[in-house]
């Protein structure tokens, strides 16, 4: 599904060269739910950005669903992002001037899907996240948890094979965080592959597979299998 071989990401300024990722290797298989943890500045977000093709990498090879991402031009990257990846942001990143329906519709419009099919998908996803009755509301009329559910609906609307979540519960209180996490787990059970960056070790333990990024490298590898409660005790 996702293969990274010796990925390096170097940020270059006039004075300083910073290695955000260093010979980063990772294999993610279809249907996995991976939590990525690590201290601030360790390279988690850089990893997620590269995985989501939001920024280019300096060297190495990244295969997404068999496609060599390094060989794609900007338009091809945009199209691949649109088709294969659903992105969930820490700050929800809903467009404030668009209502919930229109927000969820955005990636579908970029894919050129016809209005009737867009309507079907948007309504289905709004139903799935329990906000069907709020379709005409603007994001700012919702709570943080509800906004994140809309963002998840938007990420799912394009029926991506791969969901990337950047601290999806970072801006939520614990109750809402749990609800969002349950939603992600449900989505994973339905077949989506999820990679989630989080600071929250409790949430991370609920993911069947954990990886840790330290100083731009995959420092530790912990695999929790089965019951998350067992993982807590491991």
């Amino acid at each position: 599904m996702l293969t990274m071989n010796k990925i390096n990401k170097i940020y270059q300024t006039d004075m300083v060269q910073t290695h955000a990722l260093r010979d980063f290797d990772l294999q993610v298989n279809e249907g996995e739910f991976i939590a990525v943890t690590g201290p601030s500045g360790s390279g988690k977000t850089t990893f997620l950005n590269i995985a989501g093709m939001l920024e280019p990498f300096s060297s190495g090879q990244y295969l997404l669903d068999g496609v060599d991402v390094g060989r794609l031009n900007d338009n091809q990257c945009a199209d691949l992002r649109n088709q294969k990846i659903g992105y969930i942001f820490q700050g929800f990143n809903l467009i404030p001037d668009l209502n919930l329906y229109e927000n969820i519709e955005v990636p579908l419009r970029y894919r050129g899907i016809k209005a009737a099919e867009r309507k079907r998908r948007v309504e289905q996803r709004l139903e799935q996240v329990g906000l069907a009755s709020r379709a005409k509301h603007l994001p700012q009329q919702l709570s943080g948890g509800q906004q994140q559910r809309v963002a998840i609906a938007r990420a799912l609307a394009g029926e991506p094979r791969f969901l990337l979540a950047d601290e999806p519960t970072g801006n939520l209180d614990s109750l809402m965080a749990r609800q969002v996490m349950e939603l992600l787990e449900q989505i994973n059970r339905e077949g989506a592959t999820i990679v989630m960056v989080t600071h929250d070790s409790e949430l991370a333990r609920r993911a069947p597979r954990n990886i840790q990024v330290v100083d731009g490298q995959l420092a530790d590898f912990t695999l929790y299998q089965g019951n998350p409660a067992a993982a807590v005790g491991a």
Binding site: N49, L54, R81, Y87, N93, P96, L98, R109, Y110, L138
Partner: protein
């Protein structure tokens, strides 16, 4: 990909900036379309053919202060001397200088005063048989005055009974084209039309009587006289330099002044129109620039305000072209709203100008062309900022701004 509806909805929800820009576009369209129309009218007015070869003609004034001068004799001596200057085609003493904004006019009718008849107001030129040749104007029908028909006088006891009139005047009074040989009346005085001349504009270019002139064979010799001289092409300057010494040599008790080429005379008369035209032109340029800057500024502001949104759109799969299209469509939408309102305002403003400043009705073509121009400027102004927006990295979506 059609994003019209969500862009329109988004604009409706944050409308203050859009409305301000829309108003700016509307006002620009209204003012620019009316201004360009007025400018074009002024250009047509300033460039209208006058019937004279202005570069070869000049005029001057002579003010005598001698107490024992025989003005009738002096007039003839002056004219003869002027006509003998090398390079002079012809010269004439005349009471009105064309295109100068100063002269004589009167009403001429088909019947004498007291009888109801058609009449028109026309400019009058009084001079001898050299008027037409000095003006460089042809007789189209009939003939010029004979020397014997000229009245040289220093009082109004006698008045001529023949006249030359312009073609426009002839056609106005005699639509059947049979003016030659007919009489027209200035008050009770009959004037037989012996010749019809080609175009020669009167002293007032802006007046409705500008194309209607009457030439009378009448030379009024007095203290203040005006002369007009036509030279061979390219020799006007050298002739003009000889005027003052020559006139003073003929009679030293006088002052020669205002020796001016005919185009300078005209420039003096049309100076306010030129000023108006320049001011309008500056206004059009400034308004257009302000609008262009407004659109540029609003788009830049929008982009800066929506950096994260653009990044998010890119992260969700927008190509660069989608982002450029988004800002272009948004700008065109505001612009079209502004243009519709501006077109209505332009017509209303045109009506007010027509009512209060006797300006012709604004043709809709001007509104249409201005609208098209404003639309083009809008599109051009937004392309740069839109491209800048398209270059925003999708990774912005994951950063805290």
């Amino acid at each position: 990909m059609s994003e019209l509806k969500p862009i329109f909805n988004a604009l409706r929800r944050s409308k203050v900036g859009a409305i301000l820009l829309l108003l700016q576009i509307a006002i620009t369209t209204a003012i620019v379309s009316n201004s360009t129309f007025i400018i074009n009218e002024k250009i047509a007015y300033l460039d209208q053919p006058t019937g004279y070869s202005e570069q070869d003609i000049f005029s001057f004034e002579v003010m005598s202060f001698g107490k024992d001068t025989n003005f009738k004799l002096q007039a003839e001596l002056d004219e003869q001397a002027l006509r003998q200057i090398p390079g002079v085609v012809d010269a004439v003493m005349i009471d009105s200088v064309p295109l100068s904004g100063s002269g004589f006019a009167s009403t001429f009718r088909l019947r004498p005063t007291g009888e109801k008849s058609k009449g028109v107001n026309a400019s009058m030129f009084q001079g001898d048989e050299h008027v037409l040749n000095t003006f460089g104007v042809k007789v189209l029908e009939g003939r010029n005055f004979y020397q014997s028909e000229i009245m040289v006088t220093d009082n109004y006891e006698q008045y001529p009974n023949i006249a030359l009139i312009t073609k426009v005047m002839a056609d106005t009074l005699f639509p059947d084209g049979d003016a030659l040989g007919k009489s027209i009346y200035r008050g009770d005085f009959p004037l037989k039309i012996i010749g019809i001349t080609d175009m020669m504009k009167g002293p007032w270019l802006s007046s409705e009587r500008k194309d209607r002139s009457v030439i009378l064979p009448f030379v009024m010799a007095r203290k203040l006289t005006q002369f007009m001289v036509r030279t061979e092409p390219g020799r006007r300057t050298e002739v003009m330099q000889q005027i003052e010494p020559l006139m003073l040599q003929l009679d030293s008790k006088r002052v020669v002044e205002n020796i001016q080429g005919l185009e300078q005379v005209k420039d003096g008369f049309v100076a306010p129109d030129k000023l108006t035209m320049r001011m309008l032109l500056v206004m059009v340029v400034v308004l257009t620039l302000i609008t262009a800057l407004g659109i540029f500024g609003l788009t830049m502001f929008n982009i800066n305000k929506r950096t994260k949104q653009v990044g998010t759109r890119r992260a969700l799969g927008a190509r660069k072209s989608h982002i450029i299209n988004y800002f272009l469509v948004e700008s065109v939408m505001i612009c079209i709203g502004g243009l519709v309102l501006g077109a209505v305002l332009a017509v209303l403003l045109g009506q007010q100008l027509m009512q209060h400043y006797s300006i012709a009705k604004l043709p809709l073509l001007y509104v249409g062309l201005t609208a098209l121009g404003v639309l083009l400027i809008s599109v051009c102004s937004v392309i740069g900022p839109a491209q800048r927006a398209a270059n925003i990295s999708p990774s912005v979506a994951t950063r805290t701004i």
